[in-house]
């Protein structure tokens, strides 16, 4: 009986911690198998089979890669600034993983009565939201954390004390901050249509709108977001700063073993983040039109099917990333900067103006 107040106060923290662990595990698994999927899909595009030795169809390959990274020798360049050298991959990975707390993984479950929990913990609780933190400014939070992620790359390039790393780091950071503007501007149209910055609210607005998914009225915004997302995550066709044939390996030239694994993971988690944002903003997140006729909204089967639809849409975008990598050549750096500032940003701003005018006249 002494334990009861302790359990009552600690319960919300325990629930949040368990939710964070589950989401973290899911993100890591998806990222690990994205690495494998990239190698296999690239192989198929290039007319060969990807890795298939470790486990059937290579499904144990990510674990083999992880073991390899752990056992590699950890080299630290002699003249580098040690503190910043160790800080940079941590910053990159933390800023890549933090947006995970605002993703709406599924619809809220309202059909379960929680009074079976002991100590009266479930009294009066009717809904279980499938988001870890429902904050009012979800879109701004994700954009802000992505902006802070630039530090990981810039500091990595600087602290390695090598000219390839510095050039690669500066170019990569310049590219990322240039395309952040187009990324943010393309989101404004969606936010205007939805009327809220909350990710759960945006999905709710897509449920109640006449177009169901915002990709239909905001087609230009979707294209701009997709292109800016490719540049934000340093992927082909915008991956000059880290292409192996151009700058050795760019900002992570001097990183080895586990620190390189952190950068590697950070890049794929960034891909996952922009895929989730694209899905939530333009493809309705977990919302499948017509599913509410089959299952009752708020029940567990509805939530499960919606969640798997969400994961399916994210995997479609990740496949699209890998497909583009196998298909397109890369931009030169000055072409890249010209494209970002002189074409993509004006198009995004024009989209904002047109959306403003249309929304104003529709609401009159």
């Amino acid at each position: 009986m002494l334990m009861e107040p302790v359990i009552k106060t600690a319960f919300p923290f325990v629930v949040t911690a368990v939710a964070v662990l589950i989401a973290f595990q899911m993100v890591l698994m998806i990222v690990a198998y994205t690495v494998l999927a990239e190698r296999k899909v690239l192989g198929w595009i290039q007319g060969r089979i990807g890795p298939n030795r470790v486990g059937p169809w290579g499904v144990l390959q990510p674990f083999a890669d992880l073991l390899k990274f752990i056992f590699k020798e950890d080299l630290v360049p002699d003249k580098s600034t040690k503190f910043i050298y160790f800080l940079a991959p941590m910053v990159a990975l933390v800023c890549a993983l933090m947006p995970m707390v605002v993703y709406p993984f599924g619809p809220a479950i309202t059909s379960v009565d929680w009074s079976f929990l002991p100590y009266g913990l479930g009294e009066g609780i009717r809904t279980l939201p499938l988001t870890i933190a429902q904050i009012d400014v979800g879109v701004l939070f994700v954009l802000g954390i992505t902006s802070v992620g630039v530090y990981g790359i810039a500091l990595a390039g600087w602290s390695s004390n090598s000219k390839y790393s510095l050039m690669g780091g500066l170019r990569s950071s310049a590219q990322m901050i240039s395309y952040e503007l187009a990324l943010g501007a393309s989101v404004i149209g969606v936010v205007m249509l939805a009327g809220t910055l909350d990710l759960g609210g945006i999905i709710y607005a897509q449920q109640t709108s006449t177009f169901r998914w915002f990709i239909i009225p905001q087609f230009v915004g979707f294209i701009v977001f997709l292109i800016a997302a490719f540049a934000e995550t340093n992927r082909v066709p915008f991956d000059l700063p880290e292409a192996e044939t151009e700058l050795v390996a760019g900002f992570h030239t001097e990183y080895s073993a586990l620190k390189f694994a952190l950068f590697f993971m950070a890049e794929y988690v960034n891909m996952f983040t922009v895929s989730v944002m694209c899905t939530v903003l333009f493809l309705g997140g977990w919302y499948v039109p017509g599913l509410s006729h089959i299952f009752e909204p708020g029940t567990i089967p509805y939530a499960l099917v919606s969640h798997f639809a969400f994961i399916g849409k994210i995997c479609a975008f990740l496949f699209f990333y890998i497909w583009v990598r196998g298909t397109l050549p890369r931009f030169r750096f000055d072409q890249l900067m010209n494209f970002g500032w002189k074409f993509l940003l004006p198009v995004a701003l024009a989209n904002v103006i047109v959306t403003t005018v249309v929304v104003f006249f529709l609401n009159r």
Binding site: T81, F83, I84, L87, I135, D136, V137, L140, F141, L143, G144, I145, S147, V148, V150, Y151, A154, L155, G157, W158, L166, G169, L170, S173, A174, I177, E180, T196, L197
Partner: protein
Amino acid sequence: MASTALFFLFAGFAIMCAISMVYHKNPLYSAISLVGVFISLSCIYVMLAAPFIAAVQILIYAGAIMVLVVFVIMLLNLDDQGTKNRLRYLWALGGGLGVVLLVQTLFIFYAVMKAPQQASDQSVSVGKTLSIGQSMYTVYLLPVEIVGVLLLMAIIGAVILARRLSQPQLELVVDQELDRRNETELENEYRVEL
């Protein structure tokens, strides 16, 4: 109880990062410490029920302004600044000003006793984006427009400051400089002959 502990945590982190920023001579360490200050201030804004300002603080200060500063440090290849002989009276001035400001800070505790101690209840909705947006575009439209013009001025100013002269303009400037130097040489020659 939890909010007091959180406040002391964030406040302590902010003050530690601020002192670290002033202490380090290497400008890159100062910049990283300042980013730490901004992030802890953003957490304090969330505690003050201002989520929009917190997100905008991360976006603008930590994500844009400090990235520019870090770029400048890397491009100019700045290193540790060695110590020189600073004018002695500045130590006294700086120390004195610091003490005066700290005393004023402690005076706040006395002065605020007359202010309301509990936050007013309806102020939780003040920080939401809807409320800020509504007041920004109806009551306070003029400052927003002025800030827009100010940012345009800053963009134009930055572009002009950072441009390099094109080749014909560069030749013009060099020619003018050579003419000026040749003039003074000719004058000196005349003076010697006289």
